[in-house]
Symmetry: C2
Subunit: 350 residues, 2 copies
Amino acid sequence: MTTISVDAATTGERSALLLLDRVRGVVGPRLREAVDTLPGELRRIAAYHFGWEEADGGPAAGPAGKAIRPALVLAAARALGGDPDPAVGAAAAVELAHNFTLLHDDIVDEDPTRRHRPTAWAVFGLADALLAGDAMSALALRLLAEDPHPAAAPALARLADCVVELCAGQQTDCALERRPPHEVSVAEVTVMATAKTGALLGCACALGALYAGADEEAVAAMDAFGREAGLAFQLIDDLIGIWGDPGRTGKPAGADLMAHKKSLPVVAALASGTAAGEELAALYARPALDAEAVVAAADAVERAGGRDWAQSQAAERMASAVEQLSRAVPDLSAAGDLLALAEFVTRRSR
Amino acid sequence: MTTISVDAATTGERSALLLLDRVRGVVGPRLREAVDTLPGELRRIAAYHFGWEEADGGPAAGPAGKAIRPALVLAAARALGGDPDPAVGAAAAVELAHNFTLLHDDIVDEDPTRRHRPTAWAVFGLADALLAGDAMSALALRLLAEDPHPAAAPALARLADCVVELCAGQQTDCALERRPPHEVSVAEVTVMATAKTGALLGCACALGALYAGADEEAVAAMDAFGREAGLAFQLIDDLIGIWGDPGRTGKPAGADLMAHKKSLPVVAALASGTAAGEELAALYARPALDAEAVVAAADAVERAGGRDWAQSQAAERMASAVEQLSRAVPDLSAAGDLLALAEFVTRRSR
């Protein structure tokens, strides 16, 4: 296992990184313009969350998000023969919606850090962070409401539905965390992860398809592509939540284990019927895990087959994603950017 | 001071109560239909918040909100010669948006009760209540996104803007609470109250005007009418927050004083330059107020002129509201319902 830097990246990875860079260049200004319409303190909190400003309002050099979702919107539009330019507002809306959910998820999960920095609620307090997230959510849909493009109305309905699904996914995630380890099934966690992560990636692809004027079938296939790729993404993210790497993601290794997260590899390990699965259950039964116990838990997940399972599941989901994609874009050579993004997402921790 | 029941109400009040009843009968089913689309636990929390269900999911007999905002949407449409029926979805959207902000405000303010019942976060926990509010916010805008009426798109943009303003108002409210009493001006609190309360009442009236096909000027005048009436409403609500009455509103007398709220009558009293104002400042300097101190604080607000000021301000704001209304509806006899609602709002505690 090695981590990727731009230098060490394969050609496909490098092209995805360049694409994401380009997307940030195009969507970033639109996003900032929208956030700048927020009043006073709410704007400041949003700008901090995006990594544009420090807590004191000074400029920040910190990296913002990867912009995978806006990249999917534009790449999906292009793959279907559409002009991506009119979809830039929709791409910004998707990124805003994503970041609103991150900001609220940090509150809900009581996460102290994100992207190497204290979370917004940790800096500005729960109340102000919650309200800034609310404003970002309304602003995301507002961006589409003011868009005169004929795709904007159905895009808005889809994004609003998606926000509801994201909330349901996060709620289910919290509910599953409260259940005893042995009472959570791989199927339940898969459904939850699809809602929590797949829904917005699917929505991003569907919005791109809508802006390209695609028919309903192609829009649905694009949504399914994003959902399957999203589940692959989640599986990889869950692996990172156990084995690292903090240098790239800002998420410390073992964080999910420390938080007793019933992530996909953990639940697969718990349900494995192996001795290592029992060891893991015993560790998860402790009220708190110290550093040593976290290492033991990670080892138990691996020996119980949770790591291998998650990696092969990720590959399977990607295959299914490509199958869906080929329904929307029969000549896959037109979908190079989408495939590069999907591959980037599933390979980034290897 | 007497409280109103339907029996004791004046003719105008009785007609407003009957109107609100009728509106609940028309908008309620649309609202329930929308909330029923929410997944699992999020639906349950919303249904509890609206007073339709008990915490265990059983039916509740408890009163839901007064439905003043949906009533304003429909009455504004009617006052401008429009058919209120097509605006029922917009009315439901406004009520959903209102209730999402209430649910989140209860979290932000750590309020334990609303409408005689434990708040949603107190019953379901902060995380689930926060997520249910998020879903309700998206659902409110979703209702307008699926509405084929030509007014739905501008209505959606207005409602989204309004949600941002509501969040800013609530954020400013919290920020003012943290400032020392003498550093908060009546002007600041007025701006905050306009954002927090006036904005949504103005938006409700503006949406009704949009659905009646009114021109921009009439829409703006209707918005201003609602904002001014909203500020009157807030002044009255602030009076209730000090002097009661819990029997009608579920808000215990003295609640705002106990919470050190810098409500309009309180700030007016603090800025009065009177000895009673100084007494109030000394009481507010205490970390906590017991029941006796709350009574003393209420008395100080009254002697400092805060109560009279708030009542006369409410009357002035209502006069200004009626002036704005007459710009949108030159023959005020067509605006009977709107006037009855505005009067009801400002008289309900007398």
